[in-house]
């Protein structure tokens, strides 16, 4: 009974969050003594057989015109048929935008218990218990799934991606009965060349201490040098200094990058809630009493307008950029 991983793609390219889900699913399969297989829907341009290097043995590809645009209901129907055909008992999603659409629907359709926001491998020593974030990152809950089929949606940036050799996955074409879509996608607007915040390894974030949108040049420059995404505190997004989707925190996006650099952000409890799962936190703030220092790994007390340009110079030296 293979563990089945939903491989999410965008314009034919597999998302990084799904590679993480694959690595997680492969590890779950090892734990339960099963194999790991994937399911991918719609037209694909990536070399998906290469995903075998992460330990996937087979990929069920449902290539149907109706699946080229996202409709959670139709996707759920197609995935359910694959699950039924291969008799999978554990299904893994990334808890990303598409995962948040499909996993809950599938949970009802299959009457399968779902844990979203998982951050660790399940404990299968006594039942099937999954650790997830709760209280917006301020705590974790261990949740037992008490149904025959189990669904897990893994939080992005929660599980390490590791290749295990150079095996190829076997691609199997799967023909599913695909229902009529009720959702018509009329436009996609992607910021080209930018790292999506939810998937970014490094995030450079600015707060009200930066005084105005005109001062974001240095934030963007530092982010670009580091291959990072940019983020901001809530008042910054509320004031329209930065776009809404950059707002992180309890009422914005919760992120868990390897490195979070907070510049001119006080570190209010609601802000920390969305970023405190970052592996390393750097705080630059002129106020030594700023609460953010308590949650930080590294810090500089000082004026961002003096310090950030110097950091940019140092990073350039490190990266060998003139």
């Amino acid at each position: 009974m293979p563990v089945l991983i939903f491989i999410d793609q965008s314009e034919g390219q597999v998302k990084k969050a799904s590679i993480e889900a694959i690595c997680y699913g492969v590890a779950v399969a090892e734990q339960t003594g099963d194999t790991a297989e994937g399911v991918i829907l719609g037209k694909v341009t990536d070399d998906i057989a290469a995903l075998g290097k992460y330990g996937l043995q087979k990929i069920h590809h449902v290539d149907n015109e109706a699946l080229n645009h996202f409709d959670a209901q139709v996707f759920t129907g197609a995935i359910a048929q694959v699950i039924d055909a291969i008799k999978s008992k554990v299904i893994i999603f990334s808890n990303n935008a598409d995962g948040k659409h499909i996993a809950p629907r599938l949970s009802v359709k299959l009457k399968a218990g779902l844990v979203t926001g998982a951050v660790a491998l399940p404990d299968t020593t006594n039942g099937f218990v999954v650790k997830k974030t709760v209280f917006s990152g301020k705590a974790f809950a261990n949740i037992a799934i008490n149904t025959d089929i189990k669904i897990i949606a893994l939080n992005p940036n929660s599980y390490e991606i590791t290749a295990r050799g150079d095996a190829k996955a076997e691609i199997l074409s799967f023909s599913a009965q695909v229902g009529a879509t009720k959702v018509r996608v009329t436009g996609v607007n992607k910021v080209k060349g930018e790292v999506p915040l939810s998937e970014a390894d490094i995030v450079v974030s600015g707060g009200r201490g930066l005084r105005g949108p005109e001062n974001w040049g240095m934030i963007e420059e530092l982010a670009k040098l580091l291959g990072a995404a940019t983020a901001c505190s809530r008042p910054v997004a509320d004031a329209h200094w930065r776009p809404h989707h950059e707002h992180v925190g309890q009422t914005g996006l919760a992120i868990a990058p390897n490195l979070y650099i907070a510049i001119g952000i006080s570190g209010a409890i609601q802000h920390l809630a969305g970023v405190n799962r970052s592996k390393t936190i750097v705080v630059i703030n002129k106020d030594p009493e700023a609460p953010f220092f308590k949650a930080a790994d590294y810090g500089i007390v000082g004026d961002a307008f003096e310090i950030v340009p110097k950091i940019i110079e140092e990073v350039k030296k490190l990266k060998g950029v003139a």
């Binding site: 965008s10 998302k15 969050a17 959670a72 935008a97 948040k100 659409h101 499909i102 996993a103 809950p104 629907r105 599938l106 009802v108 359709k109 009457k111 218990g113 779902l114 979203t116 926001g117 997830k132 974030t133 709760v134 917006s136 990152g137 301020k138 705590a139 809950a141 261990n142 949740i143 009720k182 959702v183 018509r184 009329t186 436009g187 996609v188 607007n189 930018e194 999506p196 509320d238 309890q250 009422t251 390897n258 490195l259 609601q270 809630a273 405190n276 592996k279 390393t280 705080v283 220092f293 308590k294 930080a296 790994d297 590294y298 810090g299 500089i300 007390v301 000082g302 140092e314 990073v315």
Partner: protein, 247 residues
């Protein structure tokens, strides 16, 4: 148009997070309760904005919870909404909760069901999708814009690194987040009027619990910050490169 807005009670964002009973229960002592911000700021307020544009719009609120949720649903009514329904049940499992909401939705024949994108306590982000599947209705999550004309809605949702715009026929279920609505605070008139608006309490339908909380954990405390002098940013870059190995 009839809109059902799902309202959840959640601890205030500054509430101390601690657990009792061998870490199996959230310690509610001294905790202030609020309407889950996503439900209030985006789902409910967007519904109110739609009603302001089209006065024939009817807004019903639903919550699943015990009697201690009444003040929260009353507060939501004070913001706007014609009547509220509380399903008198515990809230330990998403599937159980969604089944209750779906039942209310079926009985009421709504064109739209709005939820917040997630609750700030359980962070499940799954009630909307589950309700949609129960109703066999389309579901669009993480909506940042919503317009409706007749039986067709235009929705913009957030995707990784961008936005997607789509059209959907009603009935539909939508989960709402930042961008959906303008901020507003309840006014005195609303608060007075809410007192006379009905709050119906109904008993739950039979439904299974598919999951159960085993216990809670707090994250390990940080070791403490390593401060680098302001005149030596090179040292910070060195530490990030050589010690933390993150750049």
């Amino acid at each position: 148009m009839k809109i059902l807005v799902c309202i959840s009670k959640s601890p205030d964002t500054t509430a101390k997070i601690a657990f009792t009973d061998n870490n199996t229960k959230f310690a509610t002592d001294g905790v202030q309760w609020i309407i889950n911000p996503y439900d209030e700021w985006y789902a409910l307020v967007r519904a109110i904005e739609l009603k302001e544009k089209d006065a024939s719009t009817v807004i019903h609120l639903v919550t699943v919870g015990a009697a201690d949720a009444d003040p929260i649903i009353r507060k939501a009514l004070a913001l706007g909404g014609d009547e509220a329904i509380r399903v008198n049940a515990d809230t330990n499992d998403s599937y159980f909760i969604a089944t209750q909401i779906a039942e209310v939705a079926k009985q009421g024949g709504y064109d739209l069901v709005f939820t917040g994108k997630e609750t700030i306590d359980f962070n499940g982000s799954s009630i909307g999708g589950m309700v949609a599947e129960c109703l066999e209705a389309p579901y669009i999550a993480l909506a940042i814009k919503f317009e409706v004309e007749g039986s067709k809605a235009t929705v913009t949702r957030e995707i990784e690194g961008g936005e997607e715009e789509c059209e959907v026929n009603l009935p539909a279920v939508i989960s709402c987040q930042k961008g959906m609505a303008e901020a507003r605070i309840p006014n005195m008139r609303g608060i007075m009027a809410a007192r006379t608006r009905p709050l119906k309490v109904v008993e739950p339908v039979a439904a299974d619990h598919l999951t159960a909380v085993v216990n809670f954990e707090l994250p390990p405390a940080k070791a403490g910050v390593k401060l680098v002098p302001a005149d030596n940013p090179a040292e910070l870059v060195r530490l990030l490169h050589e010690e933390a190995k993150v750049i």
